[in-house]
Symmetry: C2
């Protein structure tokens, strides 16, 4: 596939300790797929500057777009913004445009824009701000890296504001079929089907339900007609075992 | 922390397309934390040989243990085992011990050990098999890499059989406190607390619930007394805002 590629970097000890389940990965994956951008890699790293900087450099040079989540709040463990600046060699400090956004928000809520909150106005030089319609503190895009909050509602709002500006490829379409046969029975004819349709991606995802082994076969591609053809042939392979 | 480190490699297009939510990451994270092994990085890559081999090499040399999930079934898109062999430069083919395990299983179920199923007996030379109590096809450990199925029930069973053989560190303990104040108010005293307890890891995870901003503060470490002391000081900082 020649669609643009993307990677995601999830930043946060809470995912790696098992305390929190990441919810942003599947949201981003679905949204990118809709737009024809292929999510090719995800990394999850701890709140550790060296790990973040190294991952940002690797992903930024390896893929068309990089999306990060987490670590842009006001507390001492929020270190994403400064790490992104370091990865790009960009100057870093409180920016007037970001400070103005926060000032309006906290004035309206009768809260003080204190030193901790002002940390959220520290934005690398040259970055474009990403709007945060929920709690004001902006994300930002620097080069091909889009830096977003980890709180799922805010992450989703930021994704929605960033994605329309990106050139996608042809949307990736998919169809799936559940077959109530073990993968061991399905594998050989499925492999022949995959060879017959080299432009499609055909995946087999096994399940066991109520003691029955089966597999969901998912056919993906950008050509709807080809997918239809492949699905028709697939359905004929196991006529008695379709769920 | 001087605890042993681990990384996880999740292999599979289905996670990256958003079709399936990964369930194995949080399970492994919780189990490792219990044993005092620190999960330091997770990567998710597609069913792509170059991506898998490169990730295995990077993680295997960077961490004490690597756990993989996915891609060890009988279908054409299951390519994990051969990629692990390539990463280690190990010979690869059907092994008698793995074939014998499958033969017993399929004989007992009245199924044929056909060519596709025999793919699951292909194990790198020098690897130790990991028992699969659910569907027989084994995982394996080669060097510091532990190769396991992606189906959550099987993944969990394999983790349970591999972990007891590993030397852990002191178990990582944690306590948490929900504070009904915005992170902007919490940040400065929390930062001082983190400085006062350099051996502890203090994380702040913001939430918004019923219109109220707050944060869960999680204190982690291996010394229970220190965690108690830090929690006591934390609770005194915001006596009226503890959820």
């Amino acid at each position: 596939m020649t669609n643009p590629t993307a990677a995601m970097l999830v930043i946060g000890d809470e995912i790696l300790s098992g305390r929190t389940r990441d919810a942003n990965m599947s949201h981003l994956a679905v949204e990118l797929t809709k737009r024809g951008i292929r999510l090719a890699e995800v990394r999850v790293v701890a709140d550790d500057p060296a790990a973040i900087v190294s991952a940002v450099k690797a992903l930024s040079s390896g893929y068309d777009h990089v999306f990060t989540s987490g670590g842009i709040g006001p507390t001492h463990d929020d270190i994403t913004a400064e790490c992104i600046a370091e990865a790009f060699g960009a100057a870093f400090g409180v920016r007037d445009d970001a400070r103005a956004i926060l000032q309006v928000h906290y004035d309206a809520n009768g809260q003080e824009l204190n030193e901790a909150r002002l940390r959220m106005a520290r934005i690398p030089e040259g970055a474009d701000l990403i709007e945060n319609p929920i709690s004001a503190a902006p994300g930002f895009s620097l080069g091909n890296v889009h830096v977003m909050a980890g709180v799922p509602t805010i992450f989703q709002a930021m994704v929605a504001s960033v994605l329309p500006g990106m050139t996608g490829g042809d949307p990736v379409l998919s169809q799936s079929l559940r077959i109530n046969r073990g993968e061991g029975d399905i594998a050989t004819p499925l492999s022949a089907l995959a060879e017959a349709f080299p432009d499609l991606s055909i995946g087999s995802y096994p399940f066991m339900q109520d003691g029955v082994y089966g597999a969901s076969i998912v056919i993906r591609g950008t050509n709807a007609g080809q997918i239809d053809d492949a699905m028709t042939r697939l359905a004929k392979l196991f006529p008695g075992d379709i769920a």
